[in-house]
Subunit: 250 residues, 6 copies
């Protein structure tokens, strides 16, 4: 109970909107784990299971579509549990993920239900995977609609939460420039454990470990004079499509 | 005295590098006042007095070059005192400010003496005033050189402090996009008082007051759901040429 | 009657395509009033009433959708009358405005009926309101289709009228750079009167008055040596997506 | 004499700043001829003769440096006479043209003496010829300095004349986009005659004739519905680094 | 028979995806003819006949839609035969060409059937013709989908063929920069003969001949020291959206 | 002897212009080794030894400036020998490397003496090290001057060799996009051996090994369908500032 008997504010809320079930692990697993470790609520909205575009091995083994979706769902649920987040599946169909007004409307409902303080999603460009920009567009459109009192639906209108765009697989080809480097060293083992839940994409484990090291090197190189960062620093990179709001330059 | 008899760390240090004596007031007076109000040290490195390019009224009154420099120095010293900062004058000559190795070297010495945690300077482009980009280039070059143990000069090498580029007079024509909006509401009266020290540029008082209001509106429009900001919010805008380093997305 | 008994040419025609009913006032009211004051014909094509995205106060008062549309229609009609223009409502539904082939086709018919000498619409980007880019895309696509003899529909094909993109609410965040500054001083009172018809958005009156002053300052700063412009100069800013055609550089 | 015995205003003045003696013909000969044909004053400031970089044939014939400069001067003077303009030679040395404060100062004096209503110069980029960007930078810097009452030198301060950047030899490689297309049909024969004064660069006559035709085609394609332009239309293309100031959108 | 009795590899395959029936001639006729002359297989996928947007003369003559489609088909088939390529017509309807999942799916089938080593299509922007960017998006999306084992349909998955984007009609207005200049001198007469099959667009014959000359001049200007290229060099320009893969820098 | 008793052409020549003595190894060692392995001549023009900016360990050990230059020279000569190239030292002084007409003139002489078929140098931007852009500018300016018969100096004029810009240490912060991926697998051991000559920068050995693996992964992902590349593929990335000239799209 806070002073004056006012109710305690709800815990901070983070919403992650991804195209495929695995994206939240590779691209934002550290950010998710950090928020969860601080006792915050994290909701993962996966628009598809990545059943067609990111499950090549299972297709080669002759699995059916439903089997593959079940496998990906199971993997994603276990990874989410490791990170400390809740996962929602939209099952919208991938490769291609086709933006529709109905999908956007379902996202508006999630925004109004979770009332996020922070939103994470894909960046606007990815020449190697059109589902990622499609998810980006719907995530950002729904964020605007959820702010309008005139937009119909359950729940109260929300404010304008800051947005962070996570790193695509080929950053230089997607116009991605690291504008924020998040220190994930203290939750690195958690992120690695979540990655290892994604057995179907085992070949990416070392790739994203190396990326975390590399972004950690970059973090140290750009850090101020007094940080005393260790060589084991790991990091994730993000872009900001909207201005940072702050009370102190640092 | 901190526990274990270790010496207290020095207060945080901010270095502001400007082309002309007035720039630190219009463009960063709020940031300077905020840092000073927190008990931090702020050093203002003014490369010129703005004696030729920003003193039209004095020239029209028939003042000599030396008189104008004295007027501008006096105004800037009083404004710096209001803000709570120390000002250094390089007297390098404006309109045009010509970059030289010797000027850059003097800036390296200031970096090593002040050991800044934060650096503020002009952005890279300004088609209306070439002195601003010239100051930008020297400020950024000196920051790199000051980090090199092999660069000669007094003082220890520094780390890599974050840099913030403040808003030019015509932002849309200078490629300026607000990437950081700093809430300066609580020091607004101080910034206004510093502005009023610059009697030679009286026509800019209302212009920069309006800009602070406008950036305040933008801050509120981009702020998250729980900030409860008042309609009196004032802000200053900045760009970041290097990635933000953080332990939390917000 | 012109010499040789040829019929007088029709008056010049301006077509303004907007997402919402209020846009033509805030963003182009001066341009509209200037054209009307010269005796030209101005047609305002409002794709929606802005009933969901730009009528927050009415929703909070508990109005129904139909009531809000009626209010916005009435306000827009009165503002158009003040400016001297004719307004057409497409009632396509806002937030989101969804581009369709049928809407574009209706715009083609308007192009062929009004045969514009000048077209005004939204710019291509606006991260704060997706309806504006949607209107932009349809306005520009219809302009191309209306030029093709093979595109079916009433009316003759048109030429390629110049296009001007008016200023969004947050220009720096929308890639907006003022490429044309239109002096609207002589019709300023008319624009202000039209703004005051939009009672539902009263909070924007002073905002867009200040913007007109600011663009006026910029106009004077960029004007040539002989213009003798007064301090009361007001202006509106535009971008040009196509080259200017001229017989004299000025 | 104008009514009321006020003195007639001086004729409009155009200043063209080029790197080499031939540039004003190929890139802006039509604009120069049009202005002269309207009775305006045009001043051509050629920073070099193009004696090293654009006189390959003469070097191959074994001419001396002084001979080549004399040839280029003579050609340029004859071309200027054909166009109706006055030419000034700075003889600053080309390949490379090295920007200096002294050269910029001489340009300031020309700005103050000619008081231009319009300025033409090279664009900011040209990977095939560094002299062109060097001339661009000095032309734009001098234009700013000439406006400052505090900048020393003869003559009164000037206003802020509009600037047009003419087309480089390889536009797509130099970031050049036609923002203004000037109809030069009526002075085409004059421009062609001026081109034929430049005997040393005879291979460029047909190249720039073809370019004029091509820009004419583009002008017609972008022209409004009522222009009735002939297939013989010729044009020159320009960029605008500063906003256009206007009283009418067209 | 290759050594060891291994079957000979299939000939190299090129796939060209265009919005309209004429595009492959004007924009890539040289590239097509070169590949065919080397004995390679070239498949032309024309999404529409260009019956509405690029057949103005036929409409003015009063032809019906079906007649115009037949004329354009016949012209395109004859041009393809001259170049040595096979043409497929999708008859998807132009002006506007509307992207659909069904069209993209048909393109995936073509990718899997032709297994291209090289893909050619339109660039991403064209403010003068929205059908071109629409074709671009579907061509690139289908290329990604065709690589996914999980995407249903006939045929084996393909690798990631390099993509070349050919030159639009107004390159500077479409963000087109020549990144690859292809020497088509040896097949120029073939391209010209194919152009002359397109009787409905006779006015473009000289335009694209001039362009080939101009790109040839640019090729020679950018060629290395030892190429000994003749003044008759003709070229076509392309952009690369993906990195070039090579074993030698040249 | 070639047929008809004509003299054999000289071997192909590659010129590498770098700011510091180590750059050619980290950034282009594979390209150099490949050219040398084909029997071509490679010349390395190192403008400085990197004595101040890239020798931190030696300064910390208390070495003198001359000692450090000797160490760096020795390391670079051994690395060049491993790669099979000749190295030239300009000893122009680093941190900062100041561009001068005299340095550029010395580079012109190297261009004319080596007559390169290919040029490699730094890209235009690097916010972490201003010496790299300085070297870039001089390398490109000298390449243009060396083509002009009017530019004085020894040797014949050269043609226009293609230029490749190698990868900076922080590519995303320097506007670097891989436009060419060079397969260096077959010379990887040689590059690694050259890296190990640079004992003063031992911490970079694994960094640039990882980069070679990562660019190799990217090469395979972008390679066409028939390449059959192994998982051991290593690559270096480059940008092209000028168009590629080719006789075949691939």
């Amino acid at each position: 109970m806070t002073p004056g008997n006012a109710p305690a504010p709800p815990p901070r809320s983070t919403l992650v909107v991804t195209a495929h079930a695995g994206d939240f692990v590779w691209r934002a697993g550290g950010a998710v784990a950090l928020a969860a470790a601080r006792g915050e609520k994290v909701t993962l909205a996966c628009l598809t299971f990545g059943e067609r575009g990111e499950s090549a091995a299972a297709w080669r083994e002759g699995r059916t579509l439903e089997e593959i979706k079940a496998i990906r769902r199971d993997e994603a649920e276990r990874a989410a549990a490791v990170l400390g987040a809740e996962v929602l599946f939209f099952d919208a169909g991938d490769y291609p993920l086709v933006p529709t007004a109905e999908l956007t409307d379902r996202l508006v409902a999630v925004y109004r239900a979770t009332r996020p303080d922070v939103v994470l999603t894909h960046p606007a460009e990815d020449p190697y995977n059109g589902d990622h920009p499609a998810a980006h567009r719907m995530a950002l459109e729904a964020r605007v609609l959820a702010q309008a009192v005139g937009y119909p639906g359950e729940g109260d209108v929300i404010g304008a939460p800051p947005v962070f765009l996570f790193e695509p697989h080929q950053p230089e080809m997607s116009g991605f420039r690291p504008e924020v480097l998040l220190d994930i060293t203290e939750v690195w083992e958690t992120k690695r454990a979540a990655m290892e839940c994604l057995v179907a994409q085992r070949h990416l484990w070392s790739y994203y470990t190396d990326l975390a090291v590399r972004r950690g090197v970059q973090l140290r190189r750009n850090a101020g004079p007094n940080l005393g960062l260790a060589h084991t620093t790991k990091a994730e990179a993000f872009m900001r499509p909207f201005p940072q709001i702050t009370k102190e330059l640092a």
